[in-house]
Structure formats: structure tokens, C-alpha cells
Symmetry: C2
């Protein structure tokens, strides 16, 4: 990527990355350490940074550098051309938003996240509703400014997954829905018949931390360029090219909640640690989309973390950390961690029913954006939809529409990428597993070959190719939900699990 040094536009993009990563540092601190009374001032700090980055990337200087780069590009370097193409797309989107709106959104999300955390704690939707009103209004403003093909929601979806539209995703989800309901019902029936459960707690937090850190290290997560901390809602954030931080939360009654959380976030973290460091802040050094990002987390969490080979290696150490597991056979244990049931909380849902949670959110968001669903009516709409998909009703909003951080962060349009991620994960894992070196590693729960395959086929490309192109280059076929459905069926619906 030598062509990307000495280009004025890329120097500006690196400066913007300094500002964004500074904001990410303040954001991380906000979630992990910020004293209560400090939130308003932190919001002002973040708002200043966001405005600075926006001003820079919509400046005349930036525009001139972009035009200069485009004029000089002779098309001989794929990465250079891809960087210019993506930066043109970003520039055209950014210049449509006034800086006042960007600063207002930053402040609204800082305050929104804070309000959400306590609203969730108290299951008090009314306390969060005014923040959500503000954030939804801002999302609508943005969609109108950006423009869209058929409906405002398209503009938001495109933010997270280049080229996706509500109509396309809706068509995909409509195809998936009956099959997912079928898989879910079979999986739940199988689990009820088998009735395997983990022994009761306590699973001490210190032992969970120890176990998780050893596992994350075995996946090659680099702790000299990252950390694991504790938050209400788990996430992975990038504070610099060599500073990737995961968070998790602990349940002393169930160690697998933090473990699979860490494996999930470590999947995101391994992707970030594998991106081309010298291009940090350029499209070629940044993740391409959330649907690809999520494919990495799901692959490590589900295809690796819930596999038989993984536990053949790690079950003895789990017993050492949590002696009560000694009462189980490894088959019982596998059945317990693959237990499918109808549950309220998306982040704790099993693989077999997970996507149904996403389909519900996609529908509600689309209606919110189209003005068909008012904020005050969200709790009732949520519960009604939930009952239709799962046959049960959340006991309170903490277990319903208040459970996720996304809306409080202004992340409308984000959720569908989780199911896209599941689909991509299965397709990538099926292809990688067909490689004999990767397969030999998987059999011994040694993951360097798998990681090397992902580094080469996904991570090294950053955002050079569009998500669908990247999947096709890596797997030899366009994106398709087949591998995901086969995987779920094989793991959850075969009679013996």
C-alpha cells in the first residue's frame, strides 16, 4: 500500500482517525469509569471532537485533496482506487449533514446512553422515551438529508452495510422467517426432551475472568494491544491501531454468559487487530461493514466456541476453574451450552432462536422510521411482536424494548447486520473448514490456521471490496443463507444433540 503514502487526502484522513480514536477513548471511559456527575461535561467534550472531525472531513481543504487524488489516480492500484471511491462516497454523505446536526447528535447520544443505562436498570421506559424521541427525530433528519431510494430507513441501513435497502433485507428476512421458526421450534423441543442444564452457581467472577483471558489468548487475541473490561452492555472498541478493547459482563449463576460474550467481542477484536495497521483511518485499513464485522464475532462465538472440538480441549480447564462442572459428562455440557429456549434477551439468546429477535427489531425500526409507530407505543408493539414470534410476553421493558443499547447510541439500522453476520459467518466457516490445514487445527482446537485464513481472506482487505464481493472472493460464491440454515439444522434439529 505504498501508493497511499504521500497523498494529501490520506494525511487528512489520518488526522481524522486521530480525532475519532480520541473520541473512542473518551467513549470507552464513559462506559467503564466515568463518575456520575461527570456525564454532561463528557458529552460536551465528545461533541467538540465530533464537530472537529466533521468540519475537517467536509472542509474545502479535504474536498480539494479528494479531487486532487481522484485526478491523479491512473487506476493501476486497486487499494488506492478503492480508498478514493469510498472516501468520495463518505464525503458526499458527510457534506449533506450540517455540523450543528452532528454536534447535536453526539450530545444526544451521550445523554441518551446515560439515560438508557438507568432506565434499563429501573425498567422505566418513560425515563428513556424523551431521549428516544430526540434520537429518532435526528435519524429522520439525517435520512432526509442523505436521501434514499424508496423509504427513509434505506438511508440508515446503508450506513452500516453498503448498498443494503429495507426492501432487500425484508425479502431475505421474509424467506428466512418460516425456516427459522421451524428450526427454533424443533430446537426448543429437542432441548426440552434432553433437559441438560449447567450446575447451579456461584461461578466466581475472578475465576470467570481467568478462564476468559486464557481462552481469548488461545484465540490469539493480543493483550499487549488490547484489554478486557466490565460494562453493562458488552462491546468492542478501537482506540488506536494497537489498542482494541473488549468489554463483558458477569453472571455469577452462568459463566458461559461472559465467556461467549468475550469470544464474540474477541472475534470483533481479532478482525480489528488484523486490519492493515499502516492504513489506520483509511477505508483500506478499516472494517468494511458491520455485516462482515459481525461475521467474525459470530464465527468465533458459535462455530468455534460451541463446537465439540473446542470443549474437548477446554472442558478440563473449565472444571478446574468451576469445580461444580465435574458432575457433568462433556456430552451433557455440550447439550447444556446448546440448549435452545424461547427467551427475552437477545444477547443471551441461543443460536437457534437468535435471528427471530433481529427480525422483530428490523420490523419495528422500519415502522418507527416510516412514522407508523410512535415512541410511546413501542413497549406495546414490542410485546405484541414478541408474542407472535416466541409465544411468550416480556414481563417488563427491561426484558423487552429497553434491553439494547443501540437506540440510545443513535444506532437505528444497525440490528439487521447481526443476521447478515450470522449468514456470512456460516458461509466463511464452511469454506475455511474445507481447507485441510484449518481443519486439522480445528480438530485439535488450535486456531492459528483458522485465524491465518481469516487474516488473508477477510482482515487484510479492510474496506477495499464491497461486502458481497469480499464474501465471493473468500468463498467462491455470492452471499447466501444456505450454510447458516444447514448449520443450525445440523446442530439443533438432528434428533441426537
Amino acid at each position: 500500500m505504498r501508493e497511499c503514502s504521500g497523498v494529501k487526502l490520506f494525511d487528512l484522513a489520518r488526522e481524522r482517525a486521530l480525532i475519532h480514536s480520541t473520541a473512542a477513548t473518551l467513549g470507552w471511559d464513559q462506559e467503564t469509569h466515568l463518575p456520575d456527575a461527570a456525564h454532561p461535561y463528557r458529552a460536551a467534550q465528545l461533541s467538540w471532537l465530533t464537530a472537529k472531525a466533521h468540519l475537517l472531513s467536509t472542509s474545502d481543504e479535504w474536498k480539494a485533496a479528494l479531487e486532487e487524488g481522484e485526478a491523479a489516480d491512473k487506476g493501476g492500484d486497486v487499494t488506492l482506487t478503492a480508498n478514493l471511491r469510498e472516501m468520495r462516497r463518505q464525503f458526499d454523505r458527510s457534506t449533506k449533514l450540517p455540523v450543528e446536526l452532528v454536534a447535536r447528535e453526539s450530545e444526544a447520544t451521550s445523554l441518551g446512553k446515560h439515560a438508557w443505562a438507568s432506565a434499563r436498570e429501573n425498567s422505566d421506559f418513560a425515563a428513556f422515551a424523551p431521549h428516544l424521541e430526540t434520537l429518532l427525530a435526528i435519524a429522520r433528519e439525517k435520512a432526509e438529508l442523505w436521501g434514499y431510494e424508496s423509504e427513509p430507513y434505506d438511508a440508515l441501513l446503508d450506513t452500516y452495510e453498503r448498498g443494503s435497502t429495507a426492501a432487500k433485507i425484508s425479502a431475505l428476512f421474509d424467506t428466512l422467517r418460516p425456516q427459522l421458526i421451524n428450526i427454533g421450534n424443533l430446537a426448543v423441543a429437542n432441548s426440552e426432551a434432553r433437559n441438560a442444564r449447567l450446575p447451579a452457581g456461584p461461578y466466581p467472577i475472578e475465576a470467570q475472568k481467568r478462564f476468559n483471558a486464557v481462552v481469548a489468548k488461545s484465540l490469539s487475541f493480543e493483550f499487549n494491544a488490547g484489554r478486557i473490561d466490565t460494562t453493562t452492555h458488552p462491546f468492542c472498541t478501537t482506540l488506536g491501531p494497537r489498542d482494541i478493547r473488549l468489554t463483558t459482563r458477569y453472571d455469577t449463576e452462568d459463566f458461559t454468559s461472559s465467556l461467549f460474550g468475550v469470544m464474540h467481542e474477541a472475534g470483533h477484536g481479532l478482525y480489528e487487530q488484523g486490519l492493515p495497521q499502516d492504513d489506520f483511518g483509511l477505508p483500506s485499513g478499516d472494517a468494511v461493514s458491520l455485516g462482515i464485522h459481525e461475521s467474525q464475532s459470530r464465527l468465533w462465538e458459535n462455530h468455534v466456541g460451541r463446537s465439540q472440538a473446542f470443549w474437548e480441549r477446554w472442558f478440563p480447564f473449565a472444571v478446574e476453574c468451576f469445580p461444580q462442572l465435574g458432575s457433568l459428562t462433556i456430552d451433557d455440557f455440550l447439550a447444556a451450552i446448546r440448549r435452545a429456549e424461547k427467551s427475552y434477551i437477545r444477547v443471551e439468546a441461543d443460536e437457534a432462536t437468535y435471528d427471530l429477535h433481529i427480525l422483530l427489531r428490523f420490523d419495528l425500526e422500519r415502522r418507527m422510521m416510516n412514522g407508523e409507530l410512535a415512541v410511546k407505543d413501542i413497549p406495546a408493539a414490542w410485546n405484541e411482536s414478541f408474542e407472535k414470534s416466541f409465544g411468550i410476553t416480556p414481563p417488563d421493558d427491561r426484558h423487552g424494548c429497553l434491553q439494547d443499547i443501540h437506540w440510545s447510541m443513535g444506532g437505528l439500522g444497525y440490528f439487521s447486520t447481526y443476521t447478515l453476520g450470522n449468514i456470512n459467518a456460516a458461509q466463511l466457516f464452511a469454506t475455511a473448514s474445507a481447507d485441510p490445514t484449518v481443519a486439522a487445527g480445528l480438530a485439535k482446537a488450535e486456531y492459528k490456521p483458522l485465524l491465518a485464513w481469516l487474516r488473508t481472506n477477510i482482515h487484510a482487505h479492510g474496506g477495499t471490496y464491497d461486502p458481497a464481493v469480499l464474501i465471493e472472493k473468500a468463498t467462491g460464491a455470492p452471499p447466501s443463507p444456505d450454510a447458516h440454515l444447514s448449520h443450525l439444522f445440523a446442530r439443533y434439529c438432528a434428533s441426537a444433540i
Copy 2:
């Protein structure tokens, strides 16, 4: 302070405070959580922020706003006039430094702190020396650009304590030296005769954290606007008007090391929490000088924390946290925590010998700045001076010239403010104790009246008055070392302690 709203200059100063406090947040994270491989990028982030703040406060816009403010000031408001006067002084100093030098210093200190931490760990002065060369050269460059009365060191001293010069401090220290040596010798002889010591450890870190937090709360340190974390070198930093963070380090053989560290840093923190919040970023809302800042930390650490009344209240809880203390009478315990001895480490030195550590550093720094002492000769010069003051020689540089973080942060000129702080602390405490309400509180180890006195007489004024004026307003007399010497003599040299 209504006059300070609506003034354009003060809006700019508030923007600069946003940048500075953002940098402080990154600096705090750097000391507490930053992964190893992330240091170079963090240095670049800090360098960008420092340059931005410098550019803002030396801009034509800032200059015009300053001139406009000065022209409009009719002199009817003491705070307004003081803010303009101090901002003029700061502006004249800042504009003398090119932005390139400011960015270079920021990067050098980020790298310097990192190098110092491992050099100290390994007692490897050679690993730190090149960084110190760079930092000393930058300090000399700054002194030449700022200008000075008699010698380059004056320019640095003025940074931390308005109006102080090497000649003035040298005269004060020359007067103090024989009396301090006398007090030190008597104190050490008394302690040797009494030979009181704390029982052996371990003092578990969790119990220390519990004890320290309860004590910090009893001093009214506000935990909803602050925190306590762990670092190699303890400090207090301000991340926003309601975000004041202390750090400490733990010694499982001696709980008083972290306790007095916390009381010291909490003294700084109480001052920061007591400054006028609405003026955050203006001189009237910021600390006036390090000599006043340090008076607050010393007052709480020594005059409160090592007093008989304090321990009459807290000794029973200390015994609860650390059962081995049950073997001591409260008199034995007081004698142990007031034990004076000749020791190597400044931050662990007792009150009676502490100032001798400062006098040594002041001499060395003055010689470094005058070009009489080369970096490579510092370890030998340190050890020689140490032997003259204390009669013992440090076993290695970790216990000698590598012990303090200050030089690695570019903090040449800082040390003398510790002794100025001791002098101010004693003078303020003597005056406050003469107030009947304060005295009644002190007798019961209830510190709200003392804090209220400090809030009114020191904190509320921020940087409105020069340090000497502030002391005179608070105590009715100009600054003098008499109260400090009397306090040390009474506590350490009376025959019975």
C-alpha cells in the same frame, strides 16, 4: 462571576479547557489502562490535542478577543480583571513558543513517561537518559524563548509558582537548611529511641482499598465526581469540572503508604472539587499555583492524617480492617506513623526529613539548567548530594535519581513547590485551627468545618489572587516558614512523641 459570561475571550478559554480536559482523560488512561503496544499512537493523539489547544490560544481570534476584553474592562469586578490579567500573562508566554515545539514536547513527554516507568522498574538510568537529554534541551529552549530575570531556571519556576525565582527560593532554602537538618537529626534520634513500628504485613490490598475509600469519604471527597485508581506513581488529575481522579499504589507490607498517598491526593482533589465550577477553564476557576495546590494535599495528609484526634476516631476501624494492629496501643501506633528516619524515597519520606529531599532536587535542577551538570553525571551527583544531606547513599538509581516521574513529564522547576506547599499548609492550618468551629470539628475528627474554611478562604478564589496575596488574605500575614518549623519541632523534636 456573571461578568465572565458573554465575554468572547472566556468562550474561547472554555473551548481550550475542553481540549485540555480531553488530553487529561487520555493521560489518565495512559497511566492506568493503556496496552503496551498502544503508546506511540497515544503520544500522537496527545500531540494533536496539545497542538490544537496551543494554536487556539495563540490565534488571532484569541488575541482580538483578549484585546476586546481588556478594552471593555472598567475595573469594577475583581474576578473579571484578574481573569483578564492572568490570561494576558498566559497569552504573552504562550505566543513565545512555536506550535512545533509544543507538539514536540508533548510527544517527548508521552514517550518519556513510558520509558521512565520501565527504566525505574529496572533501575536502568541509561535507558532513560536519552529521553531526559531531549526533555532538558526542550526546557532550555522554552526558558530562552520565555526569557528570565537572572538565569534560565527562573523561567521554569515561574510556570508553577507565579513570581518565584531561583534566587528567592535559594535564599529561603538556605535559611531553612540548617534548621531542617537540626529537626531531622533530633526527629530521627527520638524515633530510634522510641523504636515504634507497625506490625508485619500482609495488609491485603482489598482491605486497604476499603479503609482508604471510607477515609476519603469522611474528608468529603465526592465519589460521584471522582475516583481512586492504581498507578506506579500516585497523582490527582482533573478530567472535567466534576471528574477529579486520584491514584495510589499499594504496599502489602505497609497500609499507611497507600492511605497517606490517598489523603495527600484527596487534598488536591478537594481543592479541585471546591473550585468555582462555572469558571472551569478560566483563571478564576483554576488552581492558582502548585505551592497552593500542595498546601492542600499536605494539610490533609500531615496536619489532619497524622494527628492524634484523627486516629482516635479511625484507629478502631483500622484494627477491624487490619487485625494485626490490635497488638498496638494508639500511642504506639502514632509513634509508628510519625517515625522519622533517613530514607531514599521522597514520596515515602516522613514529614521531618521530607524537605531535605526537595532542597537536593532544587540544587540539581538549577545546575542542570545552568549547564553545570550533564545528564550522564546525574546519578553520581544525586548520590553525592544525598550523602551530604542524609549521610547514606542510595543502593541504586531506582532509589535515587529515577524515583520521580517529574522529569519524564517535562516537569523541571516543579519540585520546590512541595516545600512551598509544606510552608503554606502549616500557616493555613494554624490559622484555621484558631477558628472555634474548626477546632471543635478537629477535636472530633469531623472535617466539614475545616473544609468549609478552606473552601471560603482558598478554593473559592481560584486563581484570582497571587499566591502570596491569597495566603495573606486567608491568614492575615505574609507567607512565612515559621508555622512549618514550629509544627515540625513540636511534633518531632519534643522529648515525648
